[in-house]
């Protein structure tokens, strides 16, 4: 093969990458790249920053690769220098140990900053509204404790109000994801995870389960509708006026494996969500899960190999008391 062919191949993939990037600029089907709320916006900015930082390294290195492969190809008339014993240069090596360190440091800064930011409500001026999310075998149930209504596979939220989701499951693990509004969090039995999302404009958004949970998982999707506050209020009173109330039996029926249509309920059994969370509470006293306690701060990863035993309660996901703001 000639170096030319190699160049063509490299060209090819640069083109492929560029096409991908260009495509993503437009099309509204690129949900992640068309953020509709502050959380998705933050994440979108991070995606852009990290892409640029990576490109800063990759593009020159690719160019360098193409150049080297072409220039030092084994041709009888190649005039380029050939130094078979040249194998060490401290300055050069220091440079390329250094460059990634700098890039990673910059990227690390943004990452850590936004990791903390996203744990909090994106909008400090407006009090958040709470919605409880329960993943069931293959449907989503939403309970609105403040409005005392419930829905299935359909989520309606007011525009401009941060929504505080408490997420649990009575099913295998799922993940609650509305890409237009922001990234996901797992829905797990016996725990209540938290997520803040907010819609900045009215609209209809797609919601997914993005963690495989069995046979009909592919259909475990839901619709999110964002409306101005008054219309949202109107919808709430409509639901209260026209829909049936959810009974315990309704819930037991609902949680049986299978698919479900969109459903609206004018009320739900009191404390239903808390009951679901506590039912699988790892045998702990569950009070502290539902209370908002500060998380333990000791989060150093510990080597698993060592004796005596490591304290796994500091490991990710092991801190059941991490229900904090």
């Amino acid at each position: 093969m000639s170096g030319g062919k190699m160049l063509r191949q490299i060209h090819f993939w640069i083109l492929a990458a560029l096409t991908t990037v260009l495509l993503s600029g437009c099309g509204s089907e690129y949900l992640v790249l068309n953020p509709k709320g502050p959380v998705a916006e933050t994440q979108y900015n991070l995606i852009i920053i990290s892409t640029i930082l990576c490109a800063v390294i990759i593009v020159p290195v690719l160019a360098l690769t193409a150049f080297i492969v072409y220039r030092y190809r084994d041709k009888p008339d190649n005039k380029a220098p050939y130094k078979p014993e040249w194998a060490h240069n401290s300055v050069l090596e220091a440079i390329w140990w250094g460059i990634p360190v700098v890039i990673i440091a910059i990227l690390g800064y943004f990452t850590v900053r936004d990791t903390y930011v996203l744990k909090e409500s994106p909008n400090k001026e407006v009090a958040p509204m709470t919605v409880q999310v329960t993943a069931l075998d293959w449907k989503w149930m939403f309970t609105y404790p403040e409005q005392n209504i419930a829905t299935v596979n359909y989520l309606e939220i007011p525009v401009g109000v941060p929504v505080h989701f408490q997420i649990s499951a009575e099913a295998p693990m799922n993940s609650f994801w509305v890409p237009s509004l922001g990234g996901q969090v797992y829905a797990m039995a016996g725990m209540a995870t938290e997520l803040y999302l907010q819609a900045d404009e009215p609209g209809e958004f797609a919601g997914f389960s993005s963690n495989f949970s069995g046979e009909k998982f592919a259909h475990m999707q839901f619709k999110v509708v964002a409306k101005p506050q008054e219309e949202f209020n109107k919808w709430v009173s409509e639901v209260k006026g026209t829909s049936p109330a959810m009974t315990k039996e309704d819930y037991n029926e609902l949680k049986k494996p299978g698919l479900a249509e969109e459903k609206l309920y004018s009320a739900f059994p009191e404390g239903l969500f808390e009951e679901i969370v506590q039912k699988y509470g790892h045998g702990h006293d569950m009070d502290h899960v539902m209370q908002k306690q500060p998380a333990p701060t000791g989060d150093k990863s510990k080597e698993t190999s060592q004796l005596p035993p490591t304290d796994m309660s500091n490991m990710p996901g092991m801190d059941h008391s991490s229900m904090k703001h």
Binding site: T65, P84, F212, A295
Partner: protein, 656 residues
């Protein structure tokens, strides 16, 4: 009675799908054909003596290679079936449960039964030759490792026709993988297939650490050891630290399923999240276990085909070791989205990014090995050059995924799928293929055909980008992994179709490679020199294929590229011929115990899979008897007399 048998058979055998009936028929036909050929040509004894009982690391390596290529075929067919199903929206080619089984077996097979054995094949084929040893430290254990892997893999693959395949994902997250949601033997097949082959992997890790530390030729200090052997050391160290965690994790999962324990159950105080932590404490190092040897291969290939010493040898070694250590501190990035505290997430995000530093350094060193070299584009080098851009992009998207808050948007989407296929295909598969092309002549005595290989290469490469680049975009569209179908309303159909086309191109590339191998067996260029690439390290100083004792005389090593230095010295006329002194060579005897003992392990696995405890008990007794018998064997090795060594060398064209 007849009804009972029919009843049993209909649950025992997987029924109801034409694909599976087709597979049944082809499996039976293939087995019959093998039995027929072996009987007709009276090859049973030969098969037993020369292969099934061998402890020769080269033959074990070849068996690993063959098994892994078969598994690559199976995993590849799985992939193509999935891509067919996703080619258009709302297709009904595969049903949900069938699709779920296929992505589960695809992932499990590709990592554990394709990448791992191909890697162990390369370890076996190369390391002893490269460090100037006559075998690995424990040849018997080595054979046992192979047979444990092989029978574990067979047990796993049996699920295709008997009992039903696992379908809870390649890492079988509970609670989904528990009895409540996945009843039946499928998950048990997964557990025992991996458990049995995992014991073999652990033993291989120990074996190669000792081999590398203790069996290097005189003069080969660690700082003169070739980089592939360094990468094997790094990988083996990761194996011995990671695999015990896997053993325990899936043993606990089995106890949950079999004995009603409550480790990972939703009720009874179980904690499914603990499984995620444990499995990824193994799973993340596992990814580096398979990719680090590929780095080693690239280092050898780049130096050989640039006709230049590897650049920054010390940096390379430090980078390998840094990766090995750092790989144990990143596991939680596989589940940033579990809603844990910000400081935990931040720690794992940073630790993950840090891995990019040594990896980046390696790329620069490879580039500067080519710089001021003379690059010839032989097949191993083609794959290496193709690897660099592919791995750069895959690595960059990996860094992007490590940005935890952004990961909330990528997680479990096709962006993630595209990323890990890019590092696993672009890094691991390209690397192993480069290694196979490179060392093939040493093992078999002939080169693989260049022309067919190039067809394969271009189909693989172009197909790769067509298949996986669109998947990054699909991830941004919200397409989640493991969807067996999707509707027209999302706008995913175009890119999915493109991706499917790319997958089939890779399939065509694989067919070219199979053709290439079969063609080359007859017509491939024979290697009479033992050094077809004008290479640099010890394995090229002996004839191809290597004699069973490897080195007639163990070399005295003076340089990190010792064979290259010897050749240079000979060319300059400064080479001092040392007097050759042949001695009887100490070699291990073949043994049938590894395959027999592994068969008993297979019985254990099969018994537990179906809950037939009696069969498992028979298996355990068999294993114990095998160990007992082996412990009482003291006559386990022999000496090859000088005459035989001289005759063998002469037949290979070397006069001593």
């Amino acid at each position: 009675m007849w009804e009972d048998i029919k009843d049993f058979a209909s649950t025992f055998f997987v029924t109801g799908d034409p694909l599976i009936y087709g597979a049944d028929v082809s499996i039976v036909l293939t087995m019959l054909a093998i039995v027929f050929v072996l009987t007709k040509y009276k090859k049973w004894g030969w098969l037993w003596r020369e292969w099934l009982t061998t402890v020769d690391h080269k033959r074990i390596g070849i068996m690993y290679l063959i098994a892994s290529l078969l598994m690559l075929f199976r995993g590849g067919v799985d992939a193509l079936l999935m891509r067919l199903q996703l080619a258009f929206p709302n297709l009904e080619f595969l049903h949900a449960d069938h699709y779920n089984a296929i992505f589960t077996t695809h992932g499990t097979i590709m990592i554990l039964f394709m990448a791992m054995p191909m890697m162990f094949g390369l370890f076996n084929m190369v390391v002893p030759l490269q460090i100037g040893a006559r075998d690995v430290a424990y040849p018997f254990l080595n054979a046992l490792s192979f047979w444990l892997f092989f029978l574990g893999a067979m047990l796993f693959n049996l699920s295709f026709v008997i009992g039903g395949s696992p379908d809870a994902g390649w890492l079988s997250y509970p609670p989904l993988s528990q009895n409540d949601f996945s009843p039946g033997p499928g998950q048990n097949f997964w557990i025992w297939g991996i458990q049995i082959s995992g014991i073999g992997s652990l033993a291989t890790g120990i074996n190669f650490i000792v081999t590398i530390l203790k069996m290097r030729a005189p003069g080969m200090t660690l700082s003169k050891m070739p980089l592939f052997s360094w990468s094997v050391l790094s990988s083996s160290i990761m194996i011995i630290f990671a695999f015990p965690i896997l053993t325990i994790t899936i043993a606990l999962l089995f106890l949950d399923r079999f004995a009603g324990a409550h480790f990972f159950t939703m009720d009874g105080g179980g904690n499914p999240m603990m499984y995620l932590n444990l499995i990824w404490m193994w799973g993340h190092p596992e990814v580096y276990i398979v990719v680090v040897p590929a780095f080693g291969i690239f280092s050898e290939v780049v130096a050989t085909f640039s006709r230049k010493r590897i650049f920054g040898y010390k940096s390379m070694v430090w980078a390998l070791m840094a990766i090995a250590i750092a790989s144990f501190f990143t596991w939680a990035h596989h589940f940033f989205t579990m809603g844990t505290s910000a400081s935990v997430i931040a720690f794992f995000a940073i630790s993950t990014m840090v891995i990019a530093i040594p990896t980046g350094v390696k790329v620069f060193n490879w580039l500067f090995t080519m710089f001021r070299g003379r690059i010839s584009f032989k097949q191993p080098m083609l794959w290496t050059i193709a690897f660099i851009p592919c791995f750069l992009v895959g690595g960059a998207t990996g860094v992007m995924l490590a940005v935890a808050p952004a990961d909330y948007q990528y997680h479990n989407s096709y962006f993630l799928i595209a990323h890990f296929h890019q590092v696993l295909i672009g890094g691991v598969v390209f690397g192993y293929l480069a290694g196979i092309y490179y060392w093939w002549p040493k093992l078999f005595g002939f080169k693989l055909d260049e022309k067919l290989g190039r067809w394969g290469f271009w189909f693989w490469n172009i197909g790769f980008y067509i298949c996986f680049m669109p998947q990054y975009a699909l991830g941004f569209m919200g397409m989640t992994r493991r969807y067996y179908t999707y509707g027209w309303d999302r706008g995913w159909e175009d890119l999915n179709l493109v991706s499917t086309v790319g997958a089939f191109m890779m399939g065509i590339g694989f067919i070219f490679q199979v053709w290439q191998i079969t063609y080359s067996i007859k017509h491939g260029e024979r290697d009479t020199t033992g050094d077809p690439w004008d290479a640099r390290t010890l394995e090229w100083s002996i004839p191809s294929p290597a004699p069973f004792y490897n080195f007639a005389v163990v070399p005295n090593v003076k340089d990190s590229d010792d064979w290259w230095a010897t050749k240079q010295a000979k060319a300059n006329g400064t080479y001092k011929e040392e007097p050759v002194h042949l001695e009887p060579i100490h070699m291990p005897k073949n043994s049938g115990i590894p395959i027999i003992m592994s068969t008993f392990w297979f019985l254990i696995g099969f018994g537990f899979t179906f809950g037939w405890v009696w069969m498992a008990v028979v298996g355990f007794i068999g294993v114990a008897v095998c160990m007992w018998v082996r412990s009482f064997q003291y006559d386990t090795d022999y000496y090859v007399p000088v005459d035989e060594v001289r005759r063998t060398e002469a037949s290979l064209g070397r006069v001593l």
